[in-house]
Amino acid sequence: MKVRKHILTVLIYILLSVWAIMVIFPFYWMLLTSVKSYGSYNSEYVPEFFTLAPTFENFAEAFTAVNLAQYFLNTFIFTVITTAVMLIVIVPAAFAFSRLDFRGKNIVFTLFLALMMIPNELVIITNFQTITDMGLRNTFSGLILPSVTSVFYIYLLKENFEQIPDELYKAAKVDGTSDMKYLLKVMIPICKPTIITIVILKVIECWNSYVWPRLITDDEAYFLVSNGIQEIRENGFGRENIPAMMAAVVVISLPLIVLFIIFRKKIMEGVSRGGTKG
């Protein structure tokens, strides 16, 4: 009985380790390849699993041969502005739904919830036309505007706002606090954890977004990292400079991985909460 239990435990650890290797291996491989020199990479018919002569020439190549820095900067600008505008849009909306009483509140909120079910693919066609008609292709506005709204985050924040006891609002009212001040000084600080979660999720979403940027930009000056990677793959470096390609991939992946390592708990918590309620 005891032996059987031990065998089971060992099997469980083996299973978990195998999958862990499967997950980590691509990351290891990209890191490894990115520090192999072009020559040594191409001379290995059977690739080495380790290199004793790491080189950073590929990173230099990645930043000089293609506009990686430009893609990076674009993505950074896109992510920051989109996230900021999103906050400006969703915080007041969540506040109105959670704290204020007005006619038609329930109808509007139900409508909002219904919009949560609409897949992006349905609306992206018209958005493409709209942005094109507005002459906003290959601009940051064109990239950002349709990416701002997120009904789900309004919903998440509203739920959180509603958990703040009524008494706090009443206490503030008696002291003559305006709604705006109450929102800024009380609600937002109290709900900071949720807001941070939303920001992180949005940043991940922005950093990885591919479809919309691909539709709306064909000028390299406005490429985001995802499009940049695709561009690199198809036209950059000559198709065969795999180490340089991997160096670019490492550079692109790094910010989010660092973010994940810092905010590991918050991100996992946020995704699982977002997941179960969405």
């Binding site: 006891p165 008494e167 009212k173 002291d175 900071k192």
Partner: protein, 367 residues
Amino acid sequence: MKIKLEHLTKRFPNRTKNKPDVIAVNDFNIEIPDGKLVGLLGPSGCGKSTALNLISGLETPSEGKIFFDDDDVTDIPPELRGVGLVFQSYALYPHLTVLQNITFPLENLKGNKKLSKEQMRSKAEEAAKLVQIDGLLERKPSELSGGQQQRVAIARALVKRPRVLLLDEPLSNLDARLRLHTREEIRRIQRETGITTVFVTHDQEEAMSISDVIVVMKDGVIQQVDKPQTVYDDPTNLFVAKFLGTPAINVFVGSVKKGRLFIGDDDVLPINGVDDRKVYVGVRPEGFIPDDNGGLKCKLRGVEVMGRDTSIISHHYAFEGESIRAIVSSEDAPDRDSGDIRFSLKPGKVYIFDKETEERIYPASGK
């Protein structure tokens, strides 16, 4: 500051459709004298918190008027009324320190009332000193005990020097020992500041112990407004009699016939000035005297010794409820705990209420 409520009424639409409105506060008329501590007492859902919210201005009345001294404040928003409010849950801002919590109301002052940082701090320290939390100013609410949080809430309410202090069930979230202590504190602070104070509670003992005046409420209607002892000794109706006093008053179904009071068929007391009719008879626990010749014949169920006093638990077929509780001094207690027991009643501890209206008919109102 004197508070006067005139025909104050608050209706809420019923949650179930097509039902009449809920009247939380029904035609209030009271005058709260300057500098007094008034307890608004009633069971939960009787509208006492709504009444408090009306005074604070958080809710607007459906009808009636509210005066602070001679100013009509009915349509004045809460922040301009000069009220301080303390909640049952304290409602401290969890992300702010004690000091920041206390200065929060001051930061809202505008125009020529605006204060400098130093002025705010000194005012906050003064308020903190008053409630004896001046050593805790840099802590967050989560690092304080319930009693300390309560003090912070009171300090926050007092820092603006309000004309009226309103306390909504301020002691309910504290444990029994702290509750005793804190209510003495509230009394002390109120005396020191002299601010007219209204506090809401469902605990009659709490209300009795610290109020100058008690307002007893039921279903949105004021039942009685009096000094604590008067409310206890001189209840206007069966509800008030039942609500005040621990252990509660014992209520029997009885009748008055030809100048005699009957409980069931037991002839218990002579009664003057009451017409023959069906009545409720209320007897305070201390109104029973074990007496082998007494008129009230009960079944003994048990005896609880409490040191100085003894509770006699018994039952009578005309009793409204589970068991009669009589409190007698220990030497008068029976030395058995079953069988029949007879009581005679102290006339001053017996109240008679009309069976229909439940108004008190005996003793006739002293006023």
